[in-house]
Symmetry: C2
Subunit: 387 residues, 2 copies
C-alpha cells in the first residue's frame, strides 16, 4: 500500500495478497471493517437491500453494500439521513458502504435533464421537483450519508453514443473528478460531524467502447491520485465482447495498488472476465431484482421458480447450498409462495441469490489464491452457461 | 388432563397450571411441542406469515401459527401440500400449527356460494373454479395438510343475522361437527401417511349474540367430547360489549380441561376480556396486516409509522422493546422505508408487532401466575387505550 495522502491510511486501502495473471485477491480495509476481494456488493438503493433485513444480508454472506445518492437525496434527503445518524445507522448496516454519486441515475431515471459545465439540473422522478446536482453537491451529499467510499459525479453517455459525444462526456467527467476531489478534501478538513469516519473517493472512467477515450479518461483520473478507480459506462448495452475490450486495458491504465471497481456488473460471465482483467469490486441489482422476479442463480445456471415443473419438487433449490432458504424450503414450497404472491417468496430467493453471489465471489478468490483461476473460471462457465 | 380417547393423549392436551378467577395459564401439548397459554397465533394464510420468514416469526416470540384450509385447498391444493411433506414442511415451521376449516373464508371470500345440508359449493376467488366443501372434505384436507389442530367446518352467519338465521346456522354447524368427528376418527384409523403425527379436532360454537343459541351450540359440541372448543362468529361486527356477553358464559358452557380458542380476535382489549372469561387461544391478522399498513402496536397504544412526526426521530419505535427492529432501527428509518415503499418496512414492523403480541400474551400469563391479573389487565388497558 502506498502511503500518500489520498490513498492510504489505516482506514482505507487495498492489500493484494495473491495474483493469478492479472487477477487479484486481496483485502480492502475500510472504516467499517475489512472485506475480502474480489467483492460483490448487493445494491441497497433507497436505504435497504430490497426484500431482506441487514441481518439476512449478512447471514447470506454479503459484507459490503451499495447505496444510491440519487434516490437518497430525493427521499428522505441527505440532511435527514445525517440527522438519523448517517446511512449506516439508517440501514442498520455496520459493514462498509459505497455510495454512487447519482450520475448514472440522473441520466437513466430523472426527467427533463439539463446538463451544463458545472453540473446537471433535473426533475425528480418521484414528485417532479427541480433538483440540482454538481460535483460539489454530490460529494457533500455523500459526506452527509457517511459512506465509506464515495463516487465522483460523472456523465454516463448511452452505450451507442458516438465518439464526439463520448469524448465530451470524458472531458466533463475528468473536470468533475477534479472538482469532486477538491470538495472531498474540503470535507476531510471540515467534516460536518466530528465523529464522522474518514471517507474515500473513487474516480470513474468513461470512454464508452473507444480505446483512445478510455485511455484519456484513465490518465486524467490517475493524475488526480485517488484512493480507487471505477470503470463506468459498461453494462449499458455494449455487450460482453465490447466490455472485454475495455477491461483488457485497465491493468495498464490504473495503478496496481488501488482498488478497481466495475460499476453495475453482476452477470457471472462478465464478473469472471473482469476479475481476469484485474477488477476487485462489483455491484449489481441482478441477484436482488431477479429474485423478486422468481429467478434463482445456481452453479448450474438459472431457475425460474414460477415454472410448473417445480410444483411438487421436494428437493431444495440447490442441493449443495447452505443458505437459509435451501436449508429449509423445497422447490415446490418456493414455487407456491411465488404463485400465491407471498412476500416471503422474493425474500427467500433474495437470500439464496445473495448467498450465491457471495460464494461465487469467494470461489473466485480461492481459485486465485490456489493458483487455479483460469481452470476454475472455465469450469464455472461450463456449469453455468453450457449445459 | 382427562385421558379419554378424544381429548387426551401424550400428544395433545391442555394442562392448566394457574387460574385467576376464570382466567387460566397453562401449557398446550401438541405433536409439535408445547406452548404456553394463553397463546396468540399469527396468521399464515397461504403457507407463510406474510412479510416474514419462519425464523423471524420464531425470533419474534411466536410459538404456534395458523394456516388457512380455504386458501391452501385452492392453491397449491391439499394433495400438493401433502406431496411436499405437509404444511409444517412447506412453511418450514416446526412448531404447532392450527388450520381453520375454510368455513369462515367460504362465507367471506368465495363467490356464488350455495349452501346445502351436506356442505357448501362455491366459486374460487382466484380463478372462478367450482369447489365443494363438506365436513368430510374439510377434515380430509386438514388431514393432508397435517396440522396439529384441525377445525370443524361450520356456518358463520353475519354479525347482524336474526335469531332464525343464526338458529339454522347453529343446527347445521352442530350436525357438521358430528360429521367432522366421524371423519376425523376415520383419519386416525387410516392415516394417509404412516408417519403422520396425530391431529386434534376442535368444534366451533356459533350462536351470534343470542345467549340461548350460544348455549345450544355449546351443548351440542360438548356432547361430542372433542379435544378443544372454539368460539366462532365473534369479531364479525357485533362489538366489544356483545362479545363480552358471549364470553361471559363460556366458563360454564365448556369443560375446564379443554382448550378454548376465540377465533379471529386479536384486539388487545378484547383479548384481555377473553382471557378473563377463560379463553386460552387466539388468532388474528391484526399484527401482520396492520404492520403492512405501517401501524405499530406498542404498550402505549398504536403508532402510524408513515406520520411525518417520525421523519427525524432517532429513537427506536419502542424504547423498552427487545425485538430485532427496535434494537436496530430508528423511527425515522422505519418511516423512510414505508415512504419509499421498501418491502423491508412491512417486514420490520411485522417483526415488531409479532413480538408485541408475544410479550403481551406472556405478560398476561405471568400476571395470572402472579395472581395479579385484574390489576395488570387494568394497567395495560390504561397504557394502551386511555392516554
Amino acid at each position: 500500500m502506498s502511503d500518500n495522502i489520498c490513498n492510504a491510511s489505516d482506514t482505507f486501502g487495498l492489500e493484494i495478497s495473491h495474483t493469478a495473471g492479472r487477477a487479484r485477491a486481496g483485502k480492502l480495509t475500510t472504516p467499517h471493517g475489512q472485506v475480502d476481494t474480489p467483492v460483490f456488493m448487493p445494491v441497497g438503493t433507497v436505504g435497504s437491500v430490497k426484500a431482506v433485513t441487514p441481518e439476512q444480508v449478512h447471514a447470506a454472506g454479503s459484507r459490503m453494500i451499495l447505496g444510491n445518492t440519487y434516490h437518497l437525496m430525493l427521499r428522505p434527503g441527505a440532511e435527514t439521513v445525517a440527522t438519523l445518524g448517517g446511512l449506516h445507522q439508517l440501514m442498520a448496516w455496520d459493514g462498509p458502504i459505497l455510495t454512487d454519486s447519482g450520475g448514472y441515475q440522473v441520466f437513466s431515471l430523472a426527467h427533463r435533464r439539463k446538463l451544463d459545465e458545472d453540473g446537471v439540473t433535473f426533475r425528480s422522478h418521484i414528485d417532479g421537483s427541480k433538483v440540482r446536482l454538481t460535483p460539489e453537491i454530490a460529494v457533500q451529499i455523500q459526506h452527509l450519508l457517511g459512506s465509506d467510499v464515495m463516487m465522483q459525479l460523472d456523465e454516463c453517455p448511452p452505450g451507442q453514443a458516438d465518439h464526439d459525444t463520448v469524448a465530451a462526456a470524458v472531458a466533463r467527467s475528468a473536470d468533475w473528478a477534479a472538482k469532486c476531489k477538491s470538495a472531498w478534501l474540503q470535507t476531510k478538513e471540515t467534516p460536518h460531524s466530528p465523529g464522522l469516519k474518514p471517507q474515500a473517493l473513487f474516480g470513474i472512467q468513461q470512454g464508452g467502447v473507444y480505446p483512445d477515450l478510455r485511455a484519456r479518461s484513465a490518465a486524467a483520473l490517475v493524475e488526480l491520485d485517488l484512493p480507487g478507480y471505477a470503470i463506468g459506462g459498461v453494462s449499458v448495452g455494449e455487450g460482453h465482447d465490447a466490455m472485454k475490450l475495455v477491461l483488457d486495458n485497465i491493468h495498464d491504465q490504473f495503478p496496481a495498488d488501488r482498488p478497481r471497481y466495475l460499476m453495475g456488473v453482476g452477470e457471472p460471465r462478465d464478473m469472471l472476465a473482469a476479475v481476469a482483467a484485474g477488477v476487485d469490486m462489483f455491484d449489481c441489482v441482478l441477484p436482488t431484482r431477479n429474485a423478486r422476479n422468481s429467478q434463482a442463480f445456481t452453479w448450474n445456471g438459472r431457475m425460474k421458480m414460477r415454472n410448473a415443473q417445480w410444483a411438487t419438487d421436494t428437493a431444495p433449490l440447490e442441493e449443495s447450498c447452505h443458505c437459509y432458504t435451501c436449508r429449509n424450503f423445497s422447490r415446490g414450497a418456493l414455487r407456491h409462495l411465488f404463485m400465491a404472491g407471498e412476500m416471503t417468496g422474493p425474500t427467500l430467493l433474495t437470500i439464496h441469490n445473495l448467498h450465491f453471489f457471495a460464494t461465487f465471489t469467494a470461489a473466485i478468490r480461492q481459485a486465485i489464491i490456489d493458483d487455479n483461476f483460469p481452470a476454475m473460471s472455465q469450469k464455472l462457465l461450463n456449469y453455468m452457461y453450457v449445459h
